[in-house]
């Protein structure tokens, strides 16, 4: 009905505009008559089970067989639990246990579901009904009455008049989420500035480079051409707390290239030793460990998002979403021939963060 009202109005507006055409001017919405007539519902078709009594009996048999099958499945699951116990030290027993219990439970539930659907589709009363959709807009009386109710509630509660109550309630609602903010803040570092923690690693002047995971210090002479060593700072293995946090920042990949293959920045000439270079293993994109080193092309690939770094060219990004080269750890050799760090990384390792300069 509402639709008819609108179309009448639209036509009147088009007439009063004085254009004189049957159609409204461009830009004016016109309700066009639908070219395709509503075909209506297809004629009701009886099911096989409505027409053929033997088909009906068959469907009934199928349904109760499925329900009995479900009982079998449940019993089977219980039997499987007893027959295939989980034996400690034998992962294979977990598999058989899970597999057979799962098969039994699947049968138990699937059979009920399939049986119920089949029952509903084939046997239950087959009546086709039409439920018209209600218009979304309420009637004018309902709408004005709702507005009245709100106004009455406002007046009767006095929320507009009693400002102290109103303001204190608003204050209480604002204060309510504050404990959550404090509690979540407690999950972060407490006494340290998180930005400062991200800016420094365990490396400092003189820290020996050590093998992951044993912590054995590495001599420069140990590293043959084409080698890749996975390195942690010496002493990391002995840390009581925060071992993983420190390792996540300080992990380093040590590689040896032919010195003539290295194209070093002038200010970093002293950062390598005889073709041995050390770079942070933490990707500057989102912090995955970059360790897929190809010793012939000297490319480093990050497995997460395919960023590629060129080790021979001070680890600059040659492909992928990373924006900055991997930070280089300046290394030197101590009097005993062990590799040591000259200092910490000269920039924060890993992905960008808010306070990073």
């Amino acid at each position: 009905m509402a639709k008819d009202d609108n179309s009448g109005k639209d036509l009147a507006a088009a007439d009063s505009s004085g254009v004189g055409h049957e159609e409204a001017p461009a830009g004016t919405a016109v309700v066009v008559r639908d070219a395709v007539a509503n075909p209506g519902l297809p004629p009701h078709r009886l099911r096989v089970t409505d027409l053929d009594p033997s088909a009906e009996r068959r469907a009934e048999r199928t349904v109760y067989t499925l329900f009995y099958l479900s009982i079998v499945g449940s019993v089977f699951a219980i039997a499987a639990y007893m027959a295939f116990p989980i034996v400690p030290e034998d992962p294979g027993s977990v598999r058989t246990n899970n597999l057979f219990i799962g098969l039994g439970l699947t049968l138990a539930l699937m059979a009920i579901g399939i049986g119920a659907v089949h029952w509903g589709k084939a046997l239950m009363f087959d009546h086709e009904g039409i439920d018209e959709r209600h218009p979304v807009r309420g009637s004018d009386e309902t709408r004005s009455r709702s507005v009245e109710i709100f106004q009455e509630a406002g007046e009767e509660s006095g929320i507009g008049r009693r400002t102290l109550i109103r303001n204190s309630l608003i204050g209480a609602l604002i204060a309510f989420p504050l404990p959550a903010v404090v509690l979540f803040r407690g999950l972060g570092p407490q006494d340290d500035n998180p930005a400062a923690l991200l800016s420094h690693t365990m490396w400092k002047k003189g820290t020996r480079l050590a093998l992951d995971p044993t912590g054995t210090p590495i001599k420069a002479s140990d590293i043959t051409l084409g080698s890749a060593f996975h390195v942690i700072p010496e002493g990391l293995q002995d840390l009581e707390h925060g071992k993983l946090e420190e390792k996540a920042k300080a992990a380093v990949l040590l590689m040896r290239l032919k010195p003539e293959d290295l194209n070093e920045l002038p200010e970093r000439k002293s950062w390598s030793y005889d073709g041995i270079v050390a770079y942070s293993k933490i990707c500057t994109h989102v912090g995955c460990p970059v360790a897929l080193y190809e010793q012939q092309t000297h490319h480093l690939l990050c497995p997460c998002h395919q960023s590629q770094f060129d080790v021979s060219n001070h680890c600059e990004v040659i492909f992928g979403p990373a924006k900055r080269p991997l930070p280089q750890l300046p290394i030197a050799v101590d009097s005993e021939g062990y590799l040591i760090a000259q200092s910490d990384f000269t920039e924060p390792v890993g992905p960008s963060f808010w306070e990073r300069n």
């Binding site: 089970t49 995971p213 590293i223 080698s227 897929l292 190809e294 012939q296 092309t297």
Partner: protein, 270 residues
Amino acid sequence: MTTIKKPKSPGGRKAGRRHPLSSVALIAIGLLFTGGAYAAFSTSTASAETSATSQQTIGEGKKLFAANCATCHGLAAQGTGSGPSLIGVGAASVDFQVGTGRMPLQMNGPQAEKKAVQFTDEQIAALAAYVSSLAPGPGLPEAKLLDEKGDAANGAELFRINCAMCHNVAGAGGALTEGKYAPSLDGVTSKHIYEAMVTGPQSMPVFNDMNITPESKRDIITYLKYLENNPSPGGYALGSLGPVSEGLFLWIFGLGAIVALTVWITAKSN
């Protein structure tokens, strides 16, 4: 029609004629005989050669090298524009590259792929002897390091730190850049795994004995062989490739089953 059938029917002539397959059988027996005799002869001479890693073996290897490898690696293994120098790569490198069929290279590509081995064990040994005679390099691993009886747990930790980023934590292999890839380690012999770690073939870095000690290499091999011999407790592993194959399986079969069920539930019963 009858004329075609005719020669089939008489049975009396059968005794006088040879069976049609007899000539084929005769040739096969003859070939087997000569081949067997040749094989027996050649293995006896080869074992005599390898028993003494002598100048003769090296000479044999040099000839094989000149015939099969020198085109790319140079007549003196010094390397050319199309192949690297082999001076100092050692016997382990030759045994790995030739023993897995990667060399001789079949065609240019992102990397040399595993294929059918082109030489006999004796010929590979001769090639290895020749190349290792040019300059010292990593030798063949000792048998006790390949017995697969090390510490699998330690091997697994070292594998996760040093190898898993390229070869996948289950050794299933993975992609590298520009068409290169880290191959699957399933079915690779212990000797070839060891030699690959020592020599760093192609894109793979070198893992020398100071980085991963020989005993640790034995542990890594033990771990890989443990993986090979113990099926995944989780059931079918779908290639151990992680979310790629597992996700694909669920998208196709899991969602497919849900769609099929939905269609069945909403379809009108007939």
